[in-house]
Structures are given as C-alpha cells and as structure tokens.
Symmetry: C2
C-alpha cells in the first residue's frame, strides 16, 4: 500500500527547546493521519532533509510533501530548500517529492496568528 | 486617550519578499483594532524594535505589546529579545511594554498550521 509522508521542514536552532512547537505540530498531524510525519532541519538540528526523506522512503512512502514551517519566504525557502529537494529527488527517482508554500503564507494561519495577537492585548 | 500598540517582531531577512506575511498580518490586525500596529525586526530589516517602540510612544501609546512572530523560542526570543525590551523600557519608563510568548507556541496557531499541512497533502 502506498504511503504519503509529510516532512515539516524548519530552520533549526541551538536551543533544543526551539523545536517544541514542531514536535507538537507533528503530534497533531500524527493524530489525524496514519501515514508518516517527521521533522527535518536546515541547520543546527538533525535530521537534515535528505536523511528524513530516506527514512520515509525506507518506510514505504512513494509520495512525500515537504512543508516549510517558516513565516516568510526568504533565501532559505526560495533558494536553499529547492536545492536540497532536487538532491532528494535525484536520490529517490521513484518517489514523488513535492514542496508546499511556507505555512506563514496561508490565510488561515495568519488569521490564527492575528487572533493570538488580539487575545494577548485584550486578555 | 490612551493607546495600546502591538509590535510584530520578526527575525528579518535579506529578501524583502520575506516580510510579506508580516505586512499581511499587520493589515489584518489594523482592520480589527484602531490602535497602532507596526513591525520590527531583529536584523537585516528595519525598523529595529527600539525605533518601532519610539514611534508608537510618540503616537501616544502608553502600553505596547511585543509579539514575537517566531515558531520556536530559541536564543533570539529567549535571550536577544528580552535584552532589547529592557532597553526599550529604560528609554520609556512611563510606558508599559509587555512581551508575548512566540506565536508558534499558541495552540490555535499550531492547529491552523496542521490544517494547512493536511490540505496540502489531500488537495
């Protein structure tokens, strides 16, 4: 049976507590779907994206969607990420690897952030 | 009449397109409240936080909430930001300056991000 993996791609940071929201996000997704959900980081944290892709391919995924968990689409999302994804595609030619737009570009995500800001100023 | 400003604090990036979601977020908030909403950045973009605070104080704000528009709380949010906020408080002793938790720690924001990921994998 084919599986469609999700990889949440974040920047990474020195402080391990930085990754907590990413872990919570992965848990929420795992509660709503049976197919693999994992994390990958650009730098400072592991695994990197090629390693996370390889694990999902070994796990039977023939489609993988990489979701950049970034607010803005700067050089990391527009330049670094496509290069890494191209390498992953070359490593796994039989697997379809798609890349979503950064989550911060999504209207519903921005609405939720706006709601948070309003709650913080009108407690 | 007293005003309560919101400053959306982001990392900043070289690519000006990176700031687009922050501008959209500010517009959403301005549509829902009359008090000032502005942006500030840690690096690579302007204004910095002390400049943004000074503008809101000149505009009549006696309370300002700084909202870190970051997913994770790493060194930038836990160490750099409090130092900058302390300087701002010292510059404007009559103004109450609060700092919210990073938006990525909010449950509703994470739910919205999870919803986006699910839509991207089940179009």
């Amino acid at each position: 049976m084919s599986k469609h993996g999700i990889i949440l791609f974040g920047h990474g940071a020195r402080d391990p507590r930085w990754a907590e929201p990413f872990e919570r996000l992965a848990s929420k997704l795992r509660a709503q779907r049976g197919d693999p959900v994992s994390l990958a980081f650009l730098e400072l944290m592991s695994p990197d994206l090629p390693s996370a892709v390889a694990v999902q391919v070994d796990d039977g995924c023939d489609a993988i969607t990489v979701v950049p968990v970034f607010f803005g689409q700067g050089g990391h999302v527009r330049r670094d990420l496509p290069e890494i994804v191209d390498k992953c595609r070359a490593n796994h030619p039989g697997v379809r690897i798609d890349c979503a737009t950064a989550v911060g570009e999504d209207e519903a995500v921005l609405d939720a952030v706006a709601g948070y800001c309003l709650r913080e100023t009108n407690p």
